[in-house]
Each structure stands twice: as C-alpha cells, then as structure tokens.
Symmetry: C2
Subunit: 426 residues, 2 copies
C-alpha cells in the first residue's frame, strides 16, 4: 500500500495568499503571480487563487475549502513571530495534526540572528513549530522555515506547501526545495524559448507568421508578447518530464528565415545586454549625448556588468546653451533647424564621438511632452548614431506620456546602434 | 418601502478578478490591489479576494458565493469582445436577469472605434448587452462599458460592480462613476496625510515618536512606511463622511517639533519634485557629474515638469580617463586618492559647477558592485554638492545590489542638496 506521500498528486493546484496588508491593497500580491507562473511552467493546473486576511476563522474556512477541492495548495504569508502570524497554527487545526517543536530548526533561527548581529526574541520560538507530518522547507534568506504538510483526508490527500511572505525568502525556497519535489509529480513540463525582436511592430510581425500563430500549430506553440518598443515570441514545447525538446529549434529556424533581421536574441538577454556585451567583446567604446532622455540612455548602458571597459561616459545637454557652449554645436545650426531636428541630432552624435574619443556615439534630442516645443509636436524625436562609417539619423514620432516617451527613445537608440553595427558588418 | 437601490449597503466587500492570464501568472493582479486600497480608503471592509479563470462554471460558483456573503462585489475583466469574455453573461444568469441590448451604448462603442480610425467588428455588439437592472458605467478609454448590477436576493441585495480588465480603463471608471456612488454609502472616510522624511532611518524615527505609534494613539493613527532611502509617516484620521479633519494638523505639529529637520514634504510630492520645484522657483540652476550612477541622477531631475529652466545638463564620467581628460581633474589626485574618494567627488562637483556655469552641481562616485574596485568595498560611495558657499561631501556605505545601490545613491545626492540648501538658508 502506498504511503501518504506516495499518494500525493498535482492534478489541481490552488494558491492562498495570507495577509491583511494584501486585503488593504498596501502591497501587490506578487507571490501569487510568481507561483502561478511557476506552476504553469510545470504543467500543473492552478484553478483557484485567493487572498485571506489575518483572521483565524476565515483562514480556516479558506484552507478547508481549498483542501477539499485541490490536490496541491500553496499558502504564503503569516509565518512571522507576531500575534497576527497564524498560518501554521490554523493549518494544523484544519488538518488535525498537533504542532510539534523542532529543536534543530530553532537552532538555525538563532544562528541566522547571530549572523546578522541581532538577538533572537522569545516570539521567534513559535516559528519552530510545525504540523506533525511536515517536511521542513529551509529558508536561506530569513527566519521562518516553510513546510510541506500532507492532509490525510478520507478520499485523497492534499499537499499544503507553506511559504513565508517576503519574495526574497520564498523564491529561493521554491526553487531549491519545492520545485525539485514537484517536478517528478508534474504531468508535463513546458520548455520555453524566447525569441526577441526589435524594429518591427506586433501587427506587422503577426502578418509574417499567421501559420505559426494559428490553432493548427499545436506543439510547439508560438505566442507574441509586446513590451516597450519591442516584441517577443515565446516558443513553447509541451513534453513529458524526461523528454528532450527537439521541436522548438525547427520553429526557430523558420522564424530566422522570415524575421532574421529583427531578431536580436534567442534567449533571455534584453537588448542593452546583447549590445553591451557585443561592444565589450569587440572592445568598441561608446559614449552618449542626450537631451530629452537626460541620462537615461547612459544609465541603461551602465546596467551591463563590465560596461566600464567600453562606456566612456556621456553628456546631458539638457539646455540648448549647453549644446552650444559645452558641446560646441554651431548656434547657427540650432537657430536654423532647432534643437529638435535631424541636423542637431547628427551634430550631437558627431561632436560627442570626438569629445569622448569613442568608436560609437548615440544622441537623442526630442520632446517627451507634455507641452510642445519649437512649434513641433509632442513626441517628435531624432536619434543619431555616429560610428566608424559616418552618422545615421532616424526620426521617431512617439505616442506615450512623458516618462514612456523617454523610455521608448532609449530603446529606439539601442535599436539604431544595432542596425548601424549590422549594416557595417560589425 | 425602500427601492432596491436604496437597500444597497457597503458593510462587506469582495473582489473577484476574472481572467485565465491571471491564473497562469502572466500578469500581476494590479486591479485587485488598486480596488482594495480604494475600498480601504473609503472605510469599506474587503474580506475576500480571489481570481477565477475564463471558465463559466467556476465563475458562476465564485459569483454566487460572493453574492451570498458580501454586500458589494467587484468583478474585473472578461468584458472584451472575444468568446473567452463571459463576465456579464455569467453574472446575468446568476442574478436571474435577462441580458438587455443598449442601443445607445453600442453607438458610443462605434464612435470610439471611429475616433481611432478603426472599424467596429460584429463581436463588439455583445459589449452593449447588460443585465436588466444595470446602471451603466461609461468607459472613456476603451470599448467595454461597465455596469453596477443589483442582485435582488431574498435576504438583502448585493451590488455587483463590473469593470473591464485594463487599468487605464477601469481606474478612470472607478474615480468618475463608482467612487462618487459609493461615498455616500460608505460608513466612514479616512483622511490620509503623508509626512515625508529623508536623512533618518526607520528605527531612529520610531524612537522619536513611540507615543504616536502606540495603541493609545487611536485617532488619528500614525503609520511608518519605509521606501528606498527614505521613510514616510501616514497620518490617518477616521471620520464620518460629512465631517472635516481638524485632528491631523495637531499630530503634524508634533511631528514638525520633533522631526522638522528631516521633513521635506507634507503631502504627495516626492523628493526630486520638491527640490526641482524649489530650484525653479528660486531660479537656481543645477548640473550633475556622475560616475557610478551613469546619468540616473540627471534623468531623475528631468522627471520634474519645467526643469529645463534650471537643469543645465550633466556629465557622465564613467571611465576614469574621462574624469581627467574631459572634466579636467588632476590625474595626480586620482592617482593618490582613487576615483572613489571624497577628494574626487569634491573635484567632480567643483569642476562640474564651473563647466556648466550652474549655481549647484551634484557629483556621485562610488562602486555599485558586484565586484570591488580600487581595493575598496562594494557600496562605498562619495557624494558632493558644490554651491554658492563651497562644497560639501558625504560618504555612504550602501548595502543593496548594483541596481539598488545606484537608486540609493541618487536619493542620497538629492538629500545632500536639500541639506546644503537648508544650511545656507536657501
């Protein structure tokens, strides 16, 4: 006869987030979104999801109902040392198990406090009590261990997975302990490959691949995701746990054939990391001259680890006089064409390249809004890239609010750098 | 005898977010958090919150259960034109009302598409059907109108408030139609005043006001909220709908007495807006010289509307050679003290002030991580402010990851500017 643990199944899952601060809307329920996605990636159906406050009766009701209808129930939150933290205790009552003290877990809690130069308080002792049948989930980043608690019900058992609220604690606990436990039990796995494109809009993209997006394309499937100024395709192959994915690469070959010029990454790196790592690899330096984006482009480049090898720096020429006095742009040019012009963007990029003695220089000048400038519409933006083979300028008409237009302009500048480097075979 | 609408109460509320993409963890359930906070601000208890997928049976069950236990139920999502959009229809079945076609609502939908240069599709017609007793909630930013639908149950009625999923649609609908409807029915209102502080940590702050944070302080209450590099106090006065708040100001006086030097705002403006607007008001210009933050500080200043009047620009001296060659810092200084030193920060601020001819110049040099530099620890940062009365330098030891350290350094630079301006009576 199978043991209790052997009878655990993962057919239907459910997530309960515990905490009055969630009910009051003080924080986002990011735990539920994280778990929902993680379960979806494991091929486990999550049909129910709810939030309960720090109220014993309502929590007990929610746990009871979840246990009756789902095979796998996640509980997040309520594992702290205060009086409002009741999750383990209420769960133990519902599943009819005594709370058992785990001496070794309390030692671990004490050591955690010691390593931070803090004292354990008497209230922390309760964090070492668990329902009798628990398997402990160690917490490398906090005090409260979690637990996997099976409920031995009449019909079939339900497994409760109890995790603390703070994401920096429960994420590693899920990855290190819970996921490896669930994987063998999960019916399928989904293997995702992200194909990232820039320079083409979602509607255009869809026209290139109607066959791949149709219902006839069953496995792998292809799904588009739009984000700021770019679009991704997620290629998903559903297979058994021990199967390897040999199908996604065929789809990706088709995408390369039809859309290769727009694909900047197959994988997880974003655009600035792909470009930044390319520049580092090729030992090609870069600088920036920004008006409208006021430093957002150079700050974005600086997100790339090791970028100091190639990022010389940048100039933020926010006021027009700074374009003239500090950067040395001819006041006549600005008088004739305005600061928001292809001529000015070109001059900014060329002057910047000389000023910083860099291989590449990107410039951005435009009007993020909300008011118009120089009798030109909000959103009108010019971006230039100066490099080993001259300077390239593009015009963009951005349609977001002030903040969004600045972020879009940064993305467009990176896209221009990519085009420039591709064009000269760099 | 009271009409159905007159018998609506708001004692207990509940939120149901509809959408399989939520269950799959593809997006955050920001609607529920927004509504939860809005209800909390109205003094309406929200005891239950859940997510349901685009499944008719489970949605009907959730609506039925919510209707039985709550007086006010919010439903978000599922109002689109596709087959998966079933919210209005399922609701109408549960509450036993026919779906009625609203010709005028369909005209509004048609006009919305016309204004965008698009065609109405046949599927859009279903978005003009509502349960028979509905009050329509107009949608200024999208196609699907919402509805307030009373359920005339045996015991007492429940009001369903149905809103579309996209936040840019449901937020204005809530503010313009739903909130004015609920306010007279809400038992209380909460009046919040935010007191924003910088330059003091949360633990220290708590020591100054233990009386205000204790249980004895009942109305108004004072609650601390920590955010990146600063802390706020929320003073909350609970009163009847038609009452005015004369109590919060007394608490705020006490806070001014005890903590005045740290309070930079009583209200909603963040630190950069307070400082930016002060500079604009006083017609005092500012520039930046950034190393580690690579443009994040100037980009942050540029968030302030009208800042072009005072923000000259900035220099990002990411590589050491740029500090020497472009900015003109003595290479001897850097050889002796390093780029991450108070001497270098001071020189950057002074040189920058001369370079841009600005009243103020802020500089930031440090190591955000993850690797150490110049045999100095990760997080070591020097920030300087040069102004009309010399230069002020501070040392900070930041303890976050790379991104967090950069954001913290920007916040600290703004805090230093504030101190400088206060010290010289500016």
């Amino acid at each position: 006869m199978q043991s209790l643990w052997e009878r655990i199944s993962t057919d239907n899952a459910e997530i309960i987030a515990v905490g009055t601060e969630l009910l009051l809307g003080q924080i986002e329920n990011t735990n539920a979104t994280f778990l929902a996605k993680a379960l979806s990636d494991l091929g486990i159906n999550c049909l129910y999801r709810s939030v309960v406050g720090d109220n014993p009766e309502r929590l007990a009701q929610a746990i009871e109902r979840a246990g009756q209808r789902s095979d796998l129930v996640f509980l997040t939150g309520g594992l702290g040392p205060t009086q409002d933290d009741i999750t383990m205790e209420v769960l133990s009552k519902v599943v009819g198990q005594d709370m058992v003290y785990h001496e070794e877990e309390f030692r671990i809690i004490e050591n955690y406090f010691k390593s931070q130069g803090r004292m354990t308080a008497p209230e922390n002792k309760k964090q070492a009590y668990f329902p009798a049948l628990s398997k402990i989930i160690p917490n490398p980043n906090g005090t409260a261990p979690g637990a996997m608690v099976p409920w031995d019900k009449a019909d079939k058992p339900t497994l409760f997975v109890v995790l603390p609220g703070p994401p920096n604690e429960n994420r590693p606990m899920f990855e290190m302990t819970v996921k490896p436990f669930l994987e063998p039990l999960a019916p399928f796995k989904f293997h995702h490959t992200y194909v990232r494109l820039v320079g083409i809009g979602e509607s255009d993209l869809i026209h290139h691949i109607p066959d791949l997006l149709s219902e006839e394309q069953k496995n792998p499937t292809v799904a588009p995701y739009a984000s700021l100024g770019e679009v991704s395709l997620r290629v998903t192959y559903k297979c058994k746990q021990d199967e390897e994915d040999h199908e996604s690469s065929k789809i990706i070959e088709i995408l390369q054939e039809r859309l290769g010029q727009y694909i900047y990454e197959i994988g997880d790196r974003d655009l600035v990391h792909v470009l930044g790592e390319t520049l580092i690899h090729k030992k090609q330096s870069i600088a920036t001259v920004e008006s409208m984006t006021a430093g957002l482009l150079s700050a974005t480049l600086a997100q790339v680890d090791g970028i100091s090898e190639v990022l010389r720096g940048g100039l933020v020429t926010y006021q027009v006089r700074v374009k003239e006095d500090q950067l040395g742009i001819d006041p006549e040019l600005i008088r004739e064409y305005g600061a928001i012009s292809p001529q000015c963007a070109e001059a900014m990029a060329l002057k910047g390249r000389n000023y910083f003695l860099s291989d590449y220089c990107l410039s951005i000048t435009g009007n993020a809004g909300p008011q118009g400038q120089e009798d030109k519409p909000v959103g009108l933006t010019y971006i230039a890239c100066a490099g080993p083979k001259g300077v390239k300028v593009v015009e963009k008409k951005l349609k977001g609010d002030r903040e969004k237009n600045r972020l879009l302009a940064v993305k467009q500048a990176l896209a221009l750098l990519r085009i420039y480097m591709m064009d000269i075979g760099d």
